[in-house]
Symmetry: C2
């Protein structure tokens, strides 16, 4: 028991006493110590209180308690009425509310008497701790009940006022009203109030809600608690604290939670092509999103697993929808307002959300919705604008966000203390430009199969696969080379000299084959073969488990003509870029889905032979190297053998997670929610890397790989490379770069600059 | 240069000289040393021959050569005509044929003169070595050409006779004719010939073809080479050598190749239900087989991958069909005879084969065959009898082989020196009985889902999955418990007290759901629901990669009612067996497809709760334990955590191979043949365990598991447990048992008794 803000002096605590205070008590002490006028406050620990209650009046312990209580009495004044507060380390449900205007003990013997007002209030405050989260925990082995404290404070005459030290949306310095958040509170002495905010901000380094009172013309500080602010506000505050000298840039970098960044990286509806909205509701979480209509968390997860956007459409959401909301690109509800479950969760997760669309009705059984006048089937695309509350049919063009202002400043500081490079996963010129503006230092994963995503290329690819003679096949291959060469030339020119990792054709061939009856007939007639025979061949190519099938380097080995085509296209693209734009090309060819050194050796030899046949020599303007994805457990285990044949490893953490766990990402939604609900997984292993299992394989591979080839470069190119939690882990490994989608680059830049916590 | 069978004395070689001889030379020396009359023989190494050729007549080297040549001359006789032979360590194509009746050198200077007959013949013999398989090998770093030798032998007057020391089919002691193999050769002194055979057999410990000559009433041994014999012959010979004192039982056990055993374990057509044959041809490899008609290696491999039998049907086979022949249960060809490619490979691999069926015609394009009068589609089942040459429509009942005679003797000896137990993978009473007769010491894998393989059970299972209310579900579950309980009771009674590992429901649920339109309608009407709605639900249950989907313990966790049903059925079965047959039940419940300790912990707790609810106590007559499959890389890596919650590990090497390599066994045939042809795999990793990758995970798991739980029992239950090569590897690990299919038990018993070579 001791005074954290004595009435007549600056506080002074021993190190042991400082260790005992937390929460409100810590803020009160810090403010008092900083010179702020603070309402007199003392604190007592549970252990001390139990002892004091047992002590006889007149005993030295009892007398000490009286002494501490007297620290609440300003010199020459009567003991004031009292207020009792709990002061927990973190917010806990069920704690006793503040009990105010308790009369000061009349006699010394009343000071610890639980039948009297003060003693009763203190007892109740301690008792309320038991209603909170478990007090004794097996984990720490500490009896946390010993750390509980209760505050006794002098009551103030005027009604206390709650103010925000900063605006929760913009980060501007207060004092702002907590009821009408963007208004400054009308203090008699606004200067003193601003100073108090600045002081509190400096002391806490966080947005705070302070309880203050104007008393006798003086602004008294009573208590404070932290407030959740938007990322914009946190950024503004962080930059302000640095310019104010409270923080170093490094401190600012470490203070911002990278997981919050997606919230300032919202896409917006592009102004150009506005169409009429189907309906409108409340825009409750900003940003625009397009995607297929889904009705359940499971379906939303399936879409995400396939890399496709969806909009979760629901009458209203509840706790069971959280996985779906995280998986969806946006949320649309028929009911609920700005404080509805959907709105709150959408803002927390940074998803656009439109709520309260009255004209929306849902028929889950028939898998369709009515929006305004229109009936739309599940799976069809819609667009929502969470800023305006409007809903559109189809996928409207979105304007992507850019990095500027405070975020740019912070990321520049972050780059200063980051040692691991950030690259991006893109294939197109446009995406590469966005990535560069977001700070990409190279391309870590260009999925070459994406070069075939257009109808005419698809047809050419199919002609190659089914060609009946060498002449047809050669013609089809030459056509494919031409198409891709142009794409590569533009990609190389955009990245001018930065490293570009192109992964060889990876997916199972049959993914590119005709599916619908129409496509089948078109393909058959373009090949001049019988539809029935084509169907027969297709049926024989279908796979039971395509994820573990005839894909990756297995394709290059069984169909060397595809490898040949790809290398020719890369070389032609590089030459075109070098000749027409005077750019440098730094090409890294990546062999996917390798499980043994012999495979890499075989493919590498083929590539080198092709390069020789194409008269490619390594020059300053055209460098190339050959590496491999490590995405199968066996590749990680045999890394020492594989490393001898390659210049780099890039960990494909998605597939490595699939094979290590034996979980198909596409099929996981059927049980993942159950698993998380039953506590079997702490996190979705496809979002946050599994350090224990997948991580051990990564660590084994890095160690064995570098032992065999000390020059080996190491990258990470799975989607985990955009997850803050996973990035912290990758930063602890001996990796040279991570590669993520363009919009995740800011997250990676920030997370990799933060010291391991 | 030295005499290995001098004319006038017993041979004596230095250790260095003994090291130089191999092949024929070694057999000749051994026979001479054993006291057999051997035609005088000397040998010369390449190195010595080069030096002798260069040496001047009269030089000491030249003189030595003359001296060695004189060892060919019997005391007091003229130098005989000569014969020159190569003597390679193993058979090599292109070696010089024996050159006989070369006149002995007339003068000393002719002895090494390559223009003269003897010198020329020796030179040609050495030259011929260069045509064989590569002589210098990078692997050993030795110059093997230095080890080459040439033999010079006295010619005999009579034409040499080739005899078999033992019959190649039965193993009976010879001398048998090599042309009419089951006839004893009519020697003038049959006793001497039999003695020679016995002597050769003792010296070589293998079936040999000996070259002998009767000369002046004496039986002279000239040369010998090994002959390939059937496994029956090898068994007979091995048992005979032991009874004769040439071998110890341990030597016999180590001499038989376990890979040969399947050849004596042929199924036969059961006599009972004979139907008319469709056609007949030549029975060129014994045994009967049923299976679906396939036309290509790839299709055959697909069938095998799915655990289904097929018959490879072809006009005639060639080297590119070998994978298919190995994968098929039997081979049927339209052309070719007893020495055709199909016949030879079929006998080598122990597959039944019918060849030369004239009335067979194949239309690969239309995927059908004509056999006799009948047209049959690919995929339809036929039966072939490789002993009689007949072909039948449909799958006829087969009589399974049993173990008796020499094989039983050998396996009994093997069991005496085996420390690792052998169990079997069966689910039915009938299979369990076969397995017991084949030496099973328990069941290592009873796939509980096989209990649902009947129409009425399937319907009950579907009713449970789709039941709309608790009452329906309970009724369906109770029905399923009843069905299984009876099966389990009979299985437990059959195995009376031997350990029985029952794996909980493993495959994805949708495998058990209706597929055809008829099944769909039946199921919908039995459930009283709309067909369209049922189809909708089914589509949503379909999986992209079922192998990595909602299966294994994930089912038990998301559908605890299935686990509940299974435990109830096991307990009811055990109680019925104990009560009605007074048997003991030793039940091991195995949790499949685990990737984390929490999963095992969860399922184990559920099982223990159920056991308590069912009032099950461990007693002498009813013991149960709980273990897990280790079949995912993450399970192997986290073995130390998992081991704390289980009594045993059983390695599911099939799935562990699939996930470690990232290869779906079903889909592997599309590239596996290419991989083997390009030398990327030494062996199919689904046949022979991959020691380097999958093996490392197994070793990690055993080490970590036993460290955490020293009482942990370790088993192997993948199909690798029936592969001799893999068994040798498993024998080197700290495992308690292996478990394979019943017909592989003899292989496992023998392989596990053989010392690591």
């Amino acid at each position: 028991m001791f005074a954290i803000a004595p009435a007549n002096e600056r506080p002074h605590l021993s190190r042991e006493q400082e260790r005992l205070i937390a929460g409100k008590a810590a803020w009160i002490f810090a403010m008092a110590k900083s010179g702020q006028s603070v309402c007199p406050t003392i604190c007592i620990t549970r252990k001390a209180w139990e002892a004091v209650k047992d002590a006889k009046p007149g005993s030295s312990l009892h007398t000490s308690w009286i002494g501490v209580l007297f620290k609440l009495v300003p010199k020459g004044m009567e003991p004031p009425a009292l207020v009792v507060r709990t002061a927990a380390r973190a917010h806990m449900a069920g704690l006793a509310r503040v009990r105010g205007k308790i009369e000061a003990p009349k006699k010394e013997s009343d000071a610890a008497n639980t039948a009297k007002p003060l003693g009763r209030a203190i007892d109740r405050a301690f008792d309320s701790y038991l209603h909170g989260t478990p007090v004794w925990t097996m984990d720490t082995g500490r009896d946390l009940s010993l750390e509980q404290i209760v505050l006794v404070q002098a009551a103030v005459a005027e009604k206390p006022i709650a103010i925000l030290t900063r605006d929760l949306s913009t980060g501007e310095l207060g004092p702002f009203s907590t009821t009408d958040k963007s208004q400054l509170h009308p203090f008699k002495n606004p200067m003193a109030a601003k100073q108090l905010c600045r002081r509190m901000d400096g002391v806490a380094g966080a947005h705070m809600i302070c309880l203050v009172a104007e008393q006798n013309g003086e602004l008294l500080f009573l208590s404070a608690r932290p407030a959740q602010a938007s990322i914009s506000a946190n950024l503004e505050a962080a930059i302000d604290r640095v310019s104010n000298g409270d923080w170093t840039p490094r401190k600012a970098v470490s203070a911002i939670d990278p997981a919050q960044l997606p919230q300032v990286l919202h896409p917006r509806l592009s102004g150009a092509k506005r169409v009429a909205a189907l309906a409108s509701g409340l825009g409750v979480s900003p940003g625009a999103a397009s995607g297929a209509i889904v009705f359940s968390s499971e379906d939303a997860s399936r879409y995400r697993a396939r890399g496709k956007d969806c909009i979760l459409v629901s009458v209203e959401t509840g706790p069971s929808d959280i996985e779906g909301m995280q998986a969806a690109a946006g949320i649309l509800t028929a009911r609920g307002g700005i404080t509805s479950h959907a709105a709150v969760i959408a803002r927390v997760t940074g998803k656009p959300c439109v709520a309260s669309v009255r004209s929306l009705s849902i028929d889950v059984d028939l898998q369709k919705v009515q929006i305004g006048e229109r009936e739309i089937l599940a799976g069809a695309e819609i667009t929502i604008d969470g800023s305006t509350g409007e809903v559109y049919a189809g996928a409207l063009p979105l304007t992507q966000p850019h990095i500027g202002g405070n975020l740019r400043t912070l990321l520049d500081w972050a780059d200063g203390s980051r040692t691991i490079a950030v690259r991006t996963n893109v294939e197109t010129e446009e995406a590469a430009k966005v990535a560069l503006s977001f700070g990409a230092e190279g391309i870590g994963l260009a999925r070459s199969e994406h070069m075939f995503f257009s109808t005419e290329r698809m047809v050419a690819l199919r002609r190659m696969i089914f060609s009946q003679n060498d002449h047809d096949r050669k013609q089809a291959l030459d056509g494919l080379v031409e198409y891709q060469a142009d794409d590569y030339a533009r990609l190389f020119s955009t990245m001018d000299g930065l490293p570009i990792t192109v992964r060889l054709f990876d997916p199972p061939l049959h993914e590119f084959l005709p599916r619908t009856e129409d496509e089948l007939e078109d393909t058959a007639s373009s090949l001049g073969i019988d539809t029935k025979r084509l169907r027969n061949r297709l049926e024989r190519m279908a796979e039971v488990n395509p994820m573990l099938g005839h894909r990756g380097c297995r394709l290059a080995i069984s169909h060397p003509e595809i490898l040949d085509m790809q290398i020719r296209a890369l070389v032609a693209g590089a030459r075109a870029a070098i000749e027409s734009n005077d750019t440098n090309v730094n090409l890294e060819i990546m062999v996917p889905f390798v499980s043994s050194a012999r495979e890499v050796h075989w493919v590498r030899n083929k590539i080198l032979q092709l390069m020789e046949r194409l008269s490619v020599n390594q020059t300053d303007s055209f460098k190339f190297s050959i590496g491999t994805m490590i995405e199968l457990p066996r590749a990680a285990l045999r890394a020492h053998e594989i490393a001898k044949h390659v210049d780099f490893f890039s960990f494909g953490t998605n597939d490595l997670t699939q094979t290590t766990f034996g979980i198909s990402r596409d099929d996981a939604p059927a049980f993942l929610a159950t698993y998380q609900r039953r506590g079997l997984y702490d996190a979705d292993p496809f979002v946050t890397i599994d350090k224990n299992g997948v991580g051990e394989l990564i660590e084994i591979a890095i160690r064995r790989g570098k032992e065999a080839n000390p020059d080996l470069k190491i990258g990470i190119c799975g989607e985990h490379a955009g997850d803050p939690e996973s990035l912290k882990y990758f930063a602890s490994l001996d990796v040279d770069y991570v590669s993520c989608s363009p919009f995740r680059l800011p997250i990676a830049r920030l997370a990799l600059a933060q010291p391991e916590r």
